[in-house]
Amino acid sequence: MKKKLLVFALFVVLISTLTVVNAATPAEDLKAFASQSFTVAGETVKLSDADLVKLDRFLEDNEVTAEQVESIKAKVNETVEYINETGVESLADLTTAQKQTVLAKANEAAQVVGATISYDSADGVIEIYKDGELIESLSTSNALAQTGGQSAVYYVAISVLAIIAVASVIYIRKK
């Protein structure tokens, strides 16, 4: 499992328990916890600056209780412990079943507050939904968004034209 997937799984666990609006909460405690590094399968895992911006934004619109913060910390530690207990030496060595377990743990937390997580392994995109609405989209790749490559469309069109042209020429010449 790529390190980034774990980071986002942890992020999802954090975010999914923030969508319940309750009384005033120690947001700063949560931000401090989220800013630290975690050692998982021998690797250092840490939320990126971009991830922390997303967390900060959620905390602006949602308050968390001290109990929720403790619950979040417990979930994160539980996930870290699970991965370390698998004995893998690298996150990339996690089996498909183990990755599914990690995601399941994140989804358990999300479903408590009515949120769900969708993971597309082909695109490497994690989507978080609440009340049927997409509230966040996270990429597991450490790359900027794809904003090009349209030429493939042109080449398909050219191929179709080529086929038509070949058929037309052969037909005309045979006549």
Binding site: I135, L144, T147, G148, Q150, I158, A162, A165
Partner: protein, 205 residues
């Protein structure tokens, strides 16, 4: 055997002629309609009845704390991005999924909003009708972001080509309001471009 050879030669001859016709036709289409093809595709992509067309009205900027009140919903349009020098004027959406990018400029949710005093990271396709002409911008050109809570002008001071994984070249920070707008590089790349062309602009008003 002779008949087969004759037939084979005739087929090859037909293929060559057909390919020449194809190349000529494609070149003619591209020269005559090149820009309109991309614009048409852009128009098709904007025809949608989903909620990404919804414009958020109630977002406000808390100037004292430099934070937004009522952030736009993920996937919704909250403004427009305009670069007059290269005739770019596109809707601006919160989020940068492929679906969003097909409709205009995507604003990465992992960056700050205009007016919050930090890094703003936006992206757009390098197609004509999108931000193909971003490559033509120069230092000193102004990028304007119009939102329902204010208008912000940014002056371009730098541009560079980076690898798609060089996230340190588009740093997220809150010390200074900097707009970073990127698109894929090179132009007309086949398949998956691995580089990005980024312009950097300072908030000027």
């Amino acid at each position: 055997m002779k008949a087969m050879k004759k037939s084979f030669k005739a087929t090859i001859s037909n293929l060559i002629v057909a390919l020449i016709y194809t190349v000529v036709i494609v070149l003619l289409i591209y020269v005559i309609f090149g820009n309109q093809i991309s614009v048409a595709m852009a128009l098709v992509n904007t025809i949608s009845i989903d909620k990404t067309q919804k414009v958020v009205e109630e977002t406000k900027l808390d100037l004292n704390n430099m934070k937004l009140i009522n952030y736009p919903e993920y996937g919704t349009q909250y403004g427009r991005l305009i670069i007059e020098s290269v005739d770019i004027d596109l809707p601006l959406y919160f989020g940068d999924t492929l679906s969003i990018l097909s409709k205009g400029i995507g604003h990465s949710s992992g960056s700050y909003f205009p007016g919050e005093g930090g890094s703003i990271l936006c992206a757009g396709h390098n197609y004509r009708g999108y931000i193909y002409d971003l490559y033509e911008t120069k230092n000193g050109d102004i990028i304007t972001i119009e939102t329902n809570y204010g208008t912000f002008n940014y002056e371009i001071y730098d541009s560079q080509i980076i690898k798609e994984t060089e996230l340190d070249k588009v740093p997220i920070q809150k010390e200074k309001e900097i707009l970073m707008l990127y698109t894929c590089y090179p132009l007309d790349a086949i398949g998956h471009p691995t580089e990005r062309f980024v312009v950097y602009a300072n908030l000027v008003e």
